[in-house]
């Protein structure tokens, strides 16, 4: 009988098996003889902020020689999938995990509540930018009515007005604008959105100085839910019928809901289908009219820096997008709050996994990371804005920084104090609230429905989602 495999093949197979055994033995010996150090593993999305965390880890190691900090990174678009899979499998691999403000609630079941460590025992909350922490780091428990801290913000990210200094500091243009519209051309002085529309008309409609106006995200897949609250915030903060004394709204619900639960409900109702909300929508549409049509070339998070760099005088953007600008444009970019002196936020958070086997060390590292002395490096070496107020002050008094850097720091610091114009991040936000709201607004932008119809339809969808999530109101 002829055998199917030759002797040579069997020898090759044998060699491969021996090699596999040798590699396995090597791993075993290595693990047994390695010195005893503790490694804190941080999982973050790739980019400059991960590099800052690793840098902070090296500093932490200098103070704690038997502790290493290892940062593992994943692509931003996939980090939720990766982290949640590991956590759902009860993985002990990761001690600290990162998430954004809008994805924070998905991680609530897997992270350590931080309330026992606030109030000075580990984290100096008075030094951290409260509005940054509020949107994403806090979880409003509708059952208990209590706020639980689930993560720590470690950088400041605000959504504000970026503008080209060379255009808005041009005295000839400023005089022309003032004589025509009776308001200052300088974005730092703008008090309302009417002025923004006047600028659009002046630069695009009247004189053709720029191809597009002040850019604003109008992407139906996501951007609309970021852009609309930025506009609506002006109305929200001025109407006590909407905010009920809470200028940023209830935590997690934020300004697209009333500032207090509806009577008989544990949750507030949507507030954008009011006169104020509709006015804001109409302004939003007019802003969009000075850029490419959203059904042709939507202005998105991705292409906004490029379009701003080439064609626009200003743009509403997250300050984290500044790093995507060409250096010549970056150096010519100044920052201002949204008209009326407020901003939106959308920063990143770090939390301790409840499956971590080094919880105390992980907490100590987080506290170290957000301490002023370390936060200063976040801007100096990585050009990301710190979360620590004291770090801001230290940077502003740093003589090595350029005037332009200090201007940006000052602008972000001031805006961050009032960065409360945020979209919601309650559980149905992604599957229901965003798609229904964005779709209705998109149809309105294309002229397919009226503003009232769009807002009423969206509000009805939101109420339905609230009932599904929290139950019906009593009475």
């Amino acid at each position: 009988m002829r055998s199917g495999i030759s002797r040579t093949t069997w020898v090759i197979i044998g060699v491969i098996i021996v090699v596999i055994i040798a590699i396995g033995a090597y791993y075993y010996i290595k693990s047994v003889t390695a010195p005893k150090t503790v490694t804190i593993v941080v999982v973050a999305y790739s980019g400059t902020t991960a590099q800052f965390i690793q840098f902070a880890g090296q500093l932490f190691h200098e103070e704690h020689p038997n502790v290493n900090v290892e940062v593992i990174t994943y692509p931003f678009s996939q980090y939720v999938t990766n982290e949640l899979t590991a956590l759902e499998a009860h993985s002990t691999e990761y001690d600290i995990i990162e998430f954004t403000s809008t994805s924070s609630l998905r991680f609530v079941p897997y992270v350590l509540p931080l309330n026992p460590y606030m109030g000075g025992t580990l984290f100096n909350m008075s030094d951290l930018m409260a509005p940054q922490e509020a949107f994403g780091g806090e979880f409003y428990n509708t059952t208990t009515g209590q706020i639980e801290y689930i993560g720590i913000a470690y950088e400041t990210v605000t959504y504000m007005l970026a503008y080209k200094c060379s255009i808005f500091n041009n005295q000839t243009l400023a005089q022309e604008f003032y004589s025509e519209y009776g308001v200052e051309f300088n974005p730092l002085t703008w008090q309302n959105w009417t002025t923004v529309l006047d600028v659009d008309q002046f630069l695009v409609g009247g004189n053709g100085i720029t191809k597009y106006g002040v850019l604003i995200d109008d992407h139906v897949s996501h951007g609309i839910i970021d852009a609309y609250p930025a506009v609506f915030g002006w109305w929200y903060m001025r109407d006590p019928n909407l905010n009920d004394g809470r200028v940023g709204g209830l935590p997690n619900f934020n300004i697209m809901f009333y500032g207090a639960p509806a009577p008989g409900c544990t949750y507030p109702l949507p507030d954008f289908n009011t006169t104020d909300g509709i006015e804001a929508l109409e302004v939003y549409k007019e802003l969009v009219s000075y850029e490419p049509p959203p059904n042709v070339t939507p202005v998105t998070y991705d292409n906004l820096p490029e379009l701003y760099a080439e064609y626009a005088p200003a743009a509403l953007m997250f300050v984290s997008q500044l790093s995507y600008l060409p250096s010549s444009v970056y150096n010519d970019t100044c920052l201002a709050p949204l008209p009326g002196g407020y901003a939106e936020t959308g920063t990143n958070f770090l939390a301790v996994s409840k499956y971590s086997t080094h919880k105390q060390l992980a907490l100590e590292f987080l506290a170290f990371l957000v301490s002023p002395q370390v936060q200063v490096y976040e801007y100096l070496y990585f050009h990301k804005f710190p979360i620590s107020k004291e770090a801001f002050q230290m940077l502003l008094s740093n003589s090595t920084l350029s005037p332009h850097d200090k201007e940006l720091l000052n602008a972000v610091y001031n805006a961050a104090q009032y960065a409360w114009a945020n979209p919601p991040n309650i559980p149905p936000t992604y599957p229901e609230l965003i798609p229904s709201f964005n779709q209705e607004v998109f149809e309105y932008l294309l002229g397919q429905v009226s503003a009232q119809e769009a807002m009423n339809t969206a509000a009805a969808s939101w109420v339905n989602a609230l009932v599904q999530t929290y139950g019906s109101c009593s009475g």
Binding site: M1, R2, S3, G4, I5, Y26, Y27, S31, G47, I72, Y74, P75, F76, S77, Q78, V80, T81, N82, L84, T85, A86, E88, A89, S91, T92, E93, R106, P109, V220, S221, H222, P292, P294, N295, V296, T297, P298, T300, Y301, D302, N303, P305, E306, L307, E310, Y324, P427, P428, Y430, P431, E432, P435, S436, N438, Q439, F442, S461, N464, A465, Q468
Partner: protein
């Protein structure tokens, strides 16, 4: 023939398929039917029905159109002299070498009617300038177009493999009988390979039923839910709503539905084979040849223009990316992005090369041997399990697999990928080869047994190398490319980029992770990072395909049996 070579295949699909599937429900909980209702109640009313409609539309149209395009291309290539077949096949395979992530983003730039090449299409046909990806009702068709584009090469590979399995004698006899090209292909070749064409359609149909990458990257299922498919809805249920129990139950149900068409085909085959008599078309050779060339050129234009656009973007400064009307030809040249991409991706490419090579080898050996036994001994229950496992999304296995590798210290190593990834390729390979072996005469095996050959000798020295070599090469290429394109498993099972200067090497992230890193949160930089990265990660697969394509196209001669 003894069933010894069924055992390795059985062990593998048990260890990395069935057992993890069952254990997943242990991890996440299993409470049907309440767990599945999340698909309906956790989303706006009507979303589930819309997703179901989109899924069926997407899968059907993608499978149908890509199979038809591939058939035209395969007939064209098969009728060319041998020296032209390899380069033509290589050209046709190019779209399939580009990772889904990158190709979806390239198409995203194409669809832009202001800054993308579609500007000229709209001008030419006087169509309103709209971005398909932003229009409800049209967005699903943008997903279908990309699906067809990325699937045609796959279908082509299967169909050309089938055409190459037709013996040369059969073709010669047809020519001697005076049959024209059109008569030969319509009356002889197509009926002969009809089962393979139908299998290609079904494989792509099943693959697209579970396709997540294209709708996720291109439209994110939007606007609203207008282009959401069931896999995307299930993903949302798992990772946005956090209903793991419901999501896994829904995934298992979706896979069961996906196997129904394959089961139907199996039933037909079992009850007497699948020979169809097709109408013979008689067209003069010159006209037939011209028609084929016209269709081929149009199809090649469709397949290759996005690649050309990708190359243009990769080698020009990005200041030319947002100009309207867009510039379609190179006006300025920079090699910076490409060099940067090559430098940064080298270690990722080496990981993908090694892992994919092992996966291809494991798939060919396990599937090539087991599928022969399955097909000759009519082990249909195992084929059914095979097809079902193939239809399942990767989230169905991942939790126990992740835990296994975490506890054994194999996370972030090549071993984790080499051991885990074949579940996607070995099942597909077994399915494809099962159909091919059905048509293989039993005389080969009978003769070998009379000579006293063992099962192993028969499989490896008679069936595989000389007779079905082209089929083995086909499944190896397919397995290699599928492994090359995988994203979810490498993402979950690896942690760091490869560092090859340790012993043993550490880190195991693959090219798809490199490609998606280049996109960041969707590319700001069309050309610099996106296009050059896509080009760099596609190159090794193109080279490998070129090397193997010649072997595949040599075909084999079943007609060696006389009488």
């Amino acid at each position: 023939m003894r069933r010894f070579w069924l055992i390795p295949y059985l062990i593998y699909i048990l260890a990395f398929g069935l057992i993890p599937l069952i254990l997943t429900f242990y991890f996440v909980g299993f409470t049907p039917p309440t767990s599945i209702k999340g698909l309906i109640v956790d989303f706006p009313p009507g979303t589930f029905n819309l997703a179901l409609y989109n899924t069926l539309l997407f899968a059907t149209m993608t499978a149908l159109l890509s199979t038809m395009l591939a058939l035209v291309l395969a007939i064209r290539v098969d009728s060319l002299p041998m020296k032209w077949q390899v380069p033509m096949s290589l050209i046709i395979l190019v779209p399939y070498t580009i990772p889904f992530i990158s190709s979806s983003m390239i198409w995203y730039t194409l669809f832009d009617p202001m800054y993308g090449p579609f500007y000229y299409l709209f001008k030419l046909f006087h169509i309103p300038m709209l971005n398909m990806t932003t229009i409800p009702g049209l967005s699903i068709w943008s997903v279908i177009i990309v699906g067809v584009w990325s699937s045609t090469s796959f279908a082509y590979l299967m169909i050309i493999g089938g055409l190459k399995s037709i013996s040369k004698e059969l073709k010669e006899v047809s020519q001697v009988d005076g049959a024209s090209l059109s008569q030969y292909y319509s009356g002889v070749a197509l009926p002969y390979i009809f089962k393979i064409v139908l299998t290609a359609f079904l494989v792509i149909f099943v693959l697209q039923l579970g396709n997540f990458d294209i709708p996720y990257v291109l439209t994110e299922g939007g606007p609203g839910y207008s282009s959401t498919t069931l896999p995307l809805l299930i993903f949302d249920l798992l990772y946005f709503i956090g209903d793991f129990s419901g999501g896994e139950a829904a995934a298992a149900l979706l896979a069961a539905l996906a196997t129904l068409p394959a089961v139907a085909l199996l039933y037909v085959m079992r009850s007497g084979g699948l020979y169809v008599r097709l109408p013979t078309i008689k067209i003069p050779d010159r006209i037939y040849d011209s028609l084929l060339w016209i269709l081929t050129v149009i199809i090649l234009l469709f397949l290759l223009f996005p690649v050309y656009w990708m190359v243009v973007l990769a080698f020009r400064p990005n200041i030319y990316d947002f100009i309207s009307p867009p510039i379609l030809y190179p006006v300025a040249f920079t090699i910076n992005y490409f060099v940067n991409a090559i430098t940064n991706s080298a270690s990722y490419i080496s990981t993908s090369l090694i892992v994919s090579a092992f996966v291809a080898l494991i798939s060919a050996i396990l599937a090539g041997t087991a599928s022969y036994i399955m097909s000759k001994q009519n082990i249909y229950w195992l084929l059914l399990i095979t097809i079902y496992l193939y239809s399942l999304p990767s989230t169905s296995f991942i939790f126990p697999i992740y835990t296994l590798f975490m506890n054994s210290g194999l996370l972030n190593t090549w071993w984790a990928l080499i051991l885990a990834e074949p579940i996607f390729t070995v099942t597909l390979s077994a399915w494809l080869l099962f159909n091919i072996y059905r048509d293989l005469p039993n005389e080969y095996q009978e003769l070998a047994e009379i000579e006293g050959a063992s099962s192993t000798y028969t499989l490896f020295r008679i069936i595989a190398p000389p007779i079905t070599r082209s089929s083995w090469f086909m499944v190896m290429i397919l397995s290699f490319i599928i492994s090359w394109q995988l994203l979810f498993y490498p993402l979950i099972l690896t942690e760091t980029p490869p560092w090859l200067f340790n012993f043993p090497p550490t880190g195991a992230q693959t090219v798809t992770i490199f490609a998606i890193e280049a996109i960041r949160s969707k590319a700001v930089d069309w050309g610099g990072l996106l296009a050059s990265s896509a080009l760099v990660v596609a190159l090794p697969v193109m080279v490998l395909s070129y090397v193997i394509m010649g072997r595949l196209l040599e075909g084999f001669n079943i007609g060696g049996i006389k009488g």
